[in-house]
């Protein structure tokens, strides 16, 4: 069995950035495995702009962002295989994959980086009520059909869920001649970014129904009608029903890290992120298996996927080269009042390189709050935040010297502004 220094599973933005980082650290015996026919992942179908403001300091479309990373990756001659499906990965870091040319192959990695991205929640995930006709499709699937295959899935469209892909598709389908009748969001706030509400819905007079959901779907073979209803505390209010004649219902109801491989390897997943629990080096509970990008937790900016994956790649390179695996004391990160989740979930203060990268999401919309980081009684840092929302991930960089002496869990909470 061929043994590689590093195996990277998935050739999207995370896999490309992690591989390049590994290579930059002197780890060149890499194999990247990609199931699609080309590298770039989901960026290839995200033809809208808004990517790259942090990494490249300019506004790029998804394909442009992907091509820049693909060029860097290809220039380094990092070995990769497309049209290759990884079937399993176990705790001994043995990976099984299959493709047309080689058939079924078993390989081993000193380190493995899981960059498998995420998948869309579908109708089953929310127990969508009513008939089960055709014409109900996730927003990302409709996006692939339209932007890559040139196929418009419908002409009279309603969108359930206000995630960014749904908003982007509302505009995209309008531009291509479809009529988008509205977007329903069960929460009192949008699941997408503010800028997308403005430039995808407001620009085209598409109504956003907050505190609304779809309570019935009608259609014998193909979808014909939906019933929209206002909700209070998630319960539909009688008498608020509105019906819409539609030929398509797009679902934009959230993304979940793709972790079917990880679960079989015995990787412990987090209840909120649905991705693996990791430490500051993006290593999971299984020695030598790392995870980053949307496979770890769902990001709203690809720029953060790239920077996170560079760190993961660099950490994996150090793991491969290091003989002493003792990483010192470990503390947990605790999401307290107002915080929904924090990545990473554990930290080894003595093993932090230069600084610690923390990602978190809040559990509601807040104005003028302090984001407070404490360890035991000690306040480590207090950040003033004018606006916080669940759709907008927060990234915090903490210098190593603030953390070397801590021996209590790192607790993060929101407090009224001081």
């Amino acid at each position: 069995m061929r043994e590689y220094e590093a195996i990277v599973i998935g050739g999207g933005s995370a896999g490309l950035a992690a591989s390049v980082a590994l290579h930059n650290e002197g780890v060149t015996d890499i194999l990247l495995l990609e199931r699609d026919q080309e590298l770039g992942g989901i960026l290839n179908q995200c033809i809208h702009n808004g990517f790259g403001l942090k990494v490249f300091k300019e506004e790029l479309t998804g394909p442009e962002y992907a091509e820049r990373y693909k060029d860097i990756f290809v220039e380094k001659n990092i070995p990769y295989k497309t049209n290759t499906m990884v079937i399993s990965c176990d705790k001994n870091r043995i990976v099984e994959y299959a493709n047309k040319d080689e058939g079924f192959v078993k390989i081993k990695g000193k380190a493995i980086i899981m960059t498998t991205g995420c998948y869309e929640r579908n109708a089953g995930a929310i127990q969508l009520p009513g008939d089960r006709p055709s014409g109900i499709i996730t927003a990302g699937t409709a996006q692939k059909y339209l932007n890559m295959d040139g196929y418009l899935v419908g002409k009279k469209v309603f969108i359930l869920g206000s995630g960014d892909i749904g908003l982007i598709m509302a505009r995209r389908m309008t531009l291509e001649g479809a009529e988008v009748l509205g977007v329903a969001e069960i929460m009192p706030y949008s699941g997408g970014l503010n800028r997308n509400i403005v430039q995808c819905l407001d620009d085209y007079n598409i109504p956003l129904y907050l505190n609304h959901t779809i309570t019935s779907i009608k259609g014998k073979d193909h979808i014909e009608q939906i019933v929209l209803q206002e909700v209070k505390d998630f319960i539909p209010i009688k008498g608020t029903e509105k019906t819409f004649d539609v030929d398509t219902l797009l679902l934009s109801i959230g993304l979940i890290p793709e972790q079917s491989l990880a679960e079989k390897a015995g990787i412990i997943l987090h209840s909120k992120t649905k991705g693996p629990m990791v430490d500051e080096s993006y290593q999971t509970n299984i020695d030598g298996i790392f995870a980053c990008g949307n496979a770890l937790h769902v990001h709203d900016l690809v720029d953060f996927v790239s920077t996170e994956s560079e760190r993961a790649g660099k950490a994996a390179a150090q793991y491969i080269k290091r003989s002493d695996k003792n990483v010192g004391l470990s503390v947990n990160t605790i999401a307290n009042k107002g915080i929904s989740y924090i990545v990473p979930q554990t930290i080894h203060p003595k093993s932090i390189e230069q600084n610690l990268e923390l990602f978190l999401r809040v559990d509601g919309v807040y104005q003028d709050m302090d984001l407070v980081i404490k360890s035991g009684e000690k306040e480590i840092k207090r950040y003033k935040k004018r606006h916080l929302a669940p759709a907008e991930m927060e990234r915090i960089i903490i210098p190593k010297q603030w953390l070397v002496d801590i021996n209590h869990d790192l607790e993060i909470s929101l407090e009224a502004m001081k």
Binding site: Q37, E38, N44, I47, H48, N49, G50, L53, E59, L60, T61, G62, P63, E64, A66, E67, L146, N147, M148, D149, G150, L175, E176, L193, N194, R195, I197, V198, Q199, D203, D300, L301, H387, E392
Partner: protein
Amino acid sequence: MIKTLTCIACPIGCHLEVDVDDNYKVTGNQCKKGEYFGKKELQNPTRTLTSTVIIQGAIYPRLPVKTSDEIPKDKIFEIMNCLNNITLKSPVKVNQVIIENVANTGVNIIATRSM
């Protein structure tokens, strides 16, 4: 008169207040882009348009394209019509000009990937 806007210059989405009577003075922005956006959005709103055109002989039947700069908002559908009448042949390089001076905007349509 004060008009309120959400800035779309970046994903932060600042809540802007623009004083129309005070030379479109912008407050609530966190950067210079917000000031620029606030002034322009009320006087001459512009957008970057992204879409696709037909391509033959490539791995997919559609090539993603965009306007090389922002175009007036009211030109969007006219430009979409121009894109519907284009058929390209592979290979195309990223940044290659697909249509020059589209709809007399002074802006080009360019490819956003090599294909």
